[in-house]
Symmetry: D2
Subunit: 393 residues, 4 copies
């Protein structure tokens, strides 16, 4: 129970936070707000919560923002906040994908730290421009690949890094869902509408929305980099404009092989993110829907169930754990862990002290890597699943 | 996602909260603080976080309280806060058990709403005095039997109430842990020390600490009342001063029969709270460590897995759900749900409007019922497990 | 893969077997026949498969018995077989309970080894008479508490015996079913009819049919003996003539405490036999419906899943395992293991060699112990769950 | 409990069986013998159990064959048995792979029914020659893809066939093991030695040994045919002569897409065969290690757990079920079901009656399909995972 800066462990200064997106009908905005509050490192002071000015204002008031800080648009927010002595220091960007890059660029130019939902942008080119903007600025840029915040994911990563599994051979990752089994986007469901609209979500459908999570998780835990991939992308639902099923072969630098499956048309799966890693001396399995457990199979011995907060956790997991084993933490806690680590990074920038190496939230590089992945996947699929190299971007 | 008053659904007025207990080395205090923050209905403004004045002050500052509201003791807090125009309205009491009653009494007398951890007190007599104090005062008194906040527990309760299971026949509830398998209380572990010390925890050990949770959950879900119980209490660890294993037969009014097992010496269990309810037409199973699922077995049909946020949830569960199915919520969210409902109740008292009947947090009666249970259990155990009636208290 | 006398490991002489009961409409008879065949230690040559002579003959022919050995009744079978040079050596008794004792007595008097289904008889007095008949006769008497044949049950037993769990403290055993949730006995279902008829099943219902299995398993695995019990027996289904739900507190010699639940009215459970044993240094859990796995929780370490045929099995389990881990064995294999061990015992008697101590099938003493258990349970229930001592019978 | 011809349902005539292979040190031979015995449709009368004459004789005697029918080699067996009036009618071939085709050819030419383990042969050309030999002969030719015998696999197949899942979109199948994680073949372990030796197992390693099972299961359940595949095959263990890890993209005729993973180097998996099928209206999941359950997720409703022998089984599953739900059947029972169905087919040929369409054991076509799959996989892997068409062979 030692998240850096968590309850009781750090002298307090809450980060002054603004938010772009996340108004009425949104999903991930409320998640970010809870995540920011949970460990008490932020105070949300300003927002431009919708692309519609009226809705933006209304949404801001509904969540308790002060009248003069519930802004109609983010340009106004950035301008006015800059003028305030108590203006915001950081911004959470939780819009549909196509707004990530312009909003993030504006925030960077306003000298604000950025917490951006994934994927970073709708094209690799955009992502690279953002990276350029970060250069030379002492600003934190985080991309919320939130599954990296789960304690048992951290333990998996540290076990691999410590060599507990030996050299990694096989990496199987999957992220099946079923919510787009039918053409939900025609029903007025807001999430389905924008996530299947190339203009707002980018050219990728499932590959961008959930495939990137799977890809990020695989690389985060193994520390390996995919060197090439072969992708079969499908649109199973008639009329859908983006892929809703992704199947890939992966090859990693160093020789490991993998498979990645992401689907939005797999009935029975809500958010079935699952990672399995096999090395010369053992195997690991982690399932997002039961995130408090890590199955560890040392070769030649009985498989073990390592539980978050339990007797077999290592320092990497313990550091991001709030409550004892058997009392489950979940998605919001993992998300909050990223926020807490981002707060530590923001304070480190402000105070010019070194950030502890254990702080592991994904940043601009992971964001760009996700875009490289999407583009390689789309290119491979367009070429009948021919192998595509993934560079270092 | 419609917790009354949750993010985006209610015009905002945050409850001004104080806290008694929960300083350095405490467990449940930090949980209450997160729970209060999570849905943004409270602002923690004052605290007397320890029985030791110096530690109380230090702990208060560490969590970011203002210098003048990090009080050395709760009497001072109550006195000074009463004098402030922006004084606290409600107090969370998160001390060891023996301090619950005096602190709660003082708060009630100061006209403050009370959120008290369980068990309500260390004796039934104390509990009854508290109840007396609540009478005639328009104050909310909540007892945080936190497992009642889980969405699938709410669904279980509403399914039983709707008659989906038919008349209830059998109720099996258990709460095994293993953390006291050895004599941890001798090692300086603070939680073990006070929880096995009759002077601080009350005469019951496991029966009070976790048995009450199991009992409360069984009655909460089934809507039934235990009419008599037969208890075998054991102290397996040599030298321990309170019971560490509880085994009971239960009889319910109306004819249902049950068993209750609570143990702190069951290796392999962290917080193994589990409830199973069987009626004429179906059975339910819920396991706290995997709280997002409810197993429902309609007699003569295939068992189903109902998931929180999923396609088969009812209104009672949906109302207290924040995020979609497959993205797990956990212990802190369930705890936060109680806080959010308590906030609604506090506002209802202030505004003299009726509280929605769906608000279901446990109150003084459930608190007293827990004490009746403990005393009946201890009495039965002292009489070689002879049946003891449980009155209406 | 070293069951004594199994495929390939013993010079062959198949035991000549007869059967009493198990004709048309029966359940357990076919199970015994498969169990006898599976490891090839028996050849079924004669049968009196029903109390109705015509049905007995017809049933015998249907399963391929020779015309002259498909007998109309067991008296005839015993008489005629005795006269044959190739007459049967052993008899499997698979009738409804009330016929066990008379049939077994007749077999013993005819000098035949007996394999009797459980419970041994419908009264303790009958059981004792049978035991008397075995004395002085060099005959094997087996009682098919078949769950003792599961490899992981054997491993659990040997782990307890080796002290791996330390001194045992808590034993939780349960056997819920749901098939008698409604009054199935009125529908003509043969199994329900006799099992709820005191004249054929004995005074106990669930307590005799499945409670005895739970009790046997608890004692078999722990090696402990229950010294007293307190029982609440219920008939939930209106009009039913025997108990359909059993709830008990158990006290073991040496200080361990336990609970036993057996139910036939618990919707969602088919054959939910489950045993959990907790000692000073670890806990074990075994579930009959997933019999190939044993969950072992060494205190202070991560729980492990030991799989039948896998890397962590001990000699006791390996000895009764046929196929590799991950290829499940089930109920019939466990049953067959008893038959194979019984064959070894029969050969040992014939050849006057010592039987290996690893052979562990239940015999007349376990059969009698089951009757003691039933009678104590019924007596306790009749006295409002007052404690009843269980002697050594 | 209505397997055609099973215990009690058919006038009896046991098939006279011989066996080739399966002597000392073998694994699958003993499995076939148990499978043949279990439902009592065969009597094993003759055998040539090893390629070594002395070992063949010794092994035959050890399992109880008559002295004159424990043959030194299969040619002798076929010649002598043909001459006997009570000679064998059918032969089980359970040798290493390279002997399948010559032995099967000899049996067919001797007019005997053949039950051949998988894969059918070590090359497609061999397989085709065998098929030619079956033409015009009224002989049964079975290939023991044994997983098709599991009741819940049958139910999965019949649910797909009935359209319960709608049009199939995605098929995910995997078969991970871990037994070849190290170079076991160098230790003298007989199974590892021949299965990694191209001269005895064929050019494929994991692809032939377990990949074929996965492939067969996917086609068996879905009724779909793979039209092309893209395969990445790896040899992770240094010095190994065949692949030990197989990763594939699959495309099915009609548009479904799939993935197949087979591995022998995945620590933590014993025999992790698992099939998932997703259609427009629902998804199915079946796991071989817990074969008595089928998870069925109708889109938009709560997932259900259908249990073998339980309330939700259909006729296809019930027909091949022996014992009630909750009493697990396993690998040997599924294998025995194939034997029982093969017996029915043999009797149908002899008696010239029509075989019930529900009899579904795999035959020569499925055997050849497995070889087509292996060759396409090897070819694709050799071409950097280029798509290879799978014809109708």
């Amino acid at each position: 129970m030692t998240i850096e800066g968590k309850d009781g462990t750090l002298a307090f200064r809450r980060i002054r936070l603004g938010m772009i997106g996340g108004g009425e009908g949104a999903f991930i905005g409320a998640v970010h707000r809870i995540a920011a509050r949970l460990d008490d490192h932020y105070v949300l002071l300003a927002g431009a919560l919708s692309a519609s000015p009226a809705k933006a204002r209304r949404s801001g008031l509904a969540i308790g923002l002060d009248r003069d800080r519930a802004y109609p648009d983010y340009e106004t927010m950035l301008r006015r906040e800059e003028a305030r002595p108590d203006g915001i220091e950081a911004v959470a960007i939780v819009t549909p994908n196509h707004m990530h890059a312009p909003a993030a660029a504006a925030c960077l130019e306003a000298g604000l730290h950025v917490i951006c939902d994934k994927p970073l942008a709708t094209s690799l080119a955009e992502g690279r421009r953002l990276r350029k903007l970060t250069q030379g600025r002492r600003l934190v840029f985080a991309v919320t690949y939130n599954y990296t915040g789960y304690p048992m994911v951290r333990q998996a990563r540290s076990m691999v890094a410590a060599g507990t599994l030996g050299r990694i051979r096989v990496v199987q990752v999957e992220y099946p869902q079923d919510w787009l089994t039918t053409r939900l986007e025609l029903t007025g469901q807001k999430q389905a509408a924008w996530r299947t609209d190339p203009a707002r979500s980018g050219k990728g459908g499932a590959i961008g929305d959930i495939g990137t999570h799977a890809f990020n998780l695989a690389e985060f835990v193994t520390g390996l980099r995919v060197s090439e991939l072969s992708a079969d992308l499908t649109r199973f639902v008639a009329g859908r404009r983006v892929d809703d099923n992704v199947q890939m072969l992966l090859r990693f630098r160093g020789g490991a092989r993998g498979m990645l499956w992401a689907s939005q048309v797999a009935p029975g799966h809500e958010n079935g993110l699952k990672l399995r890693v096999y090395g010369e001396t053992g195997g690991l399995e982690w399932v997002q829907a039961e995130p408090n457990y890590l199955r560890w199979s040392p070769f030649g011995k009985a498989p073990q169930v390592i539980s978050r907060g339990g007797v077999a956790v290592d320092a990497a997991a313990a550091r991001v754990t709030r409550i004892p084993g058997g009392h489950p933490e979940g998605y919001l806690e993992a998300f909050a862990t990223l926020y807490t680590e981002i707060a530590a990074a923001i304070r480190a920038r402000s105070d010019r002290h070194r950030l502890a190496p254990e702080v592991q939230f994904p940043g601009i590089e992971e964001g760009i890597r996700g875009l490289v992945f999407i583009e390689a996947g789309l290119r491979s699929a367009a070429r009948n699943a021919r192998w595509q190299r993934i560079g270092t971007a």
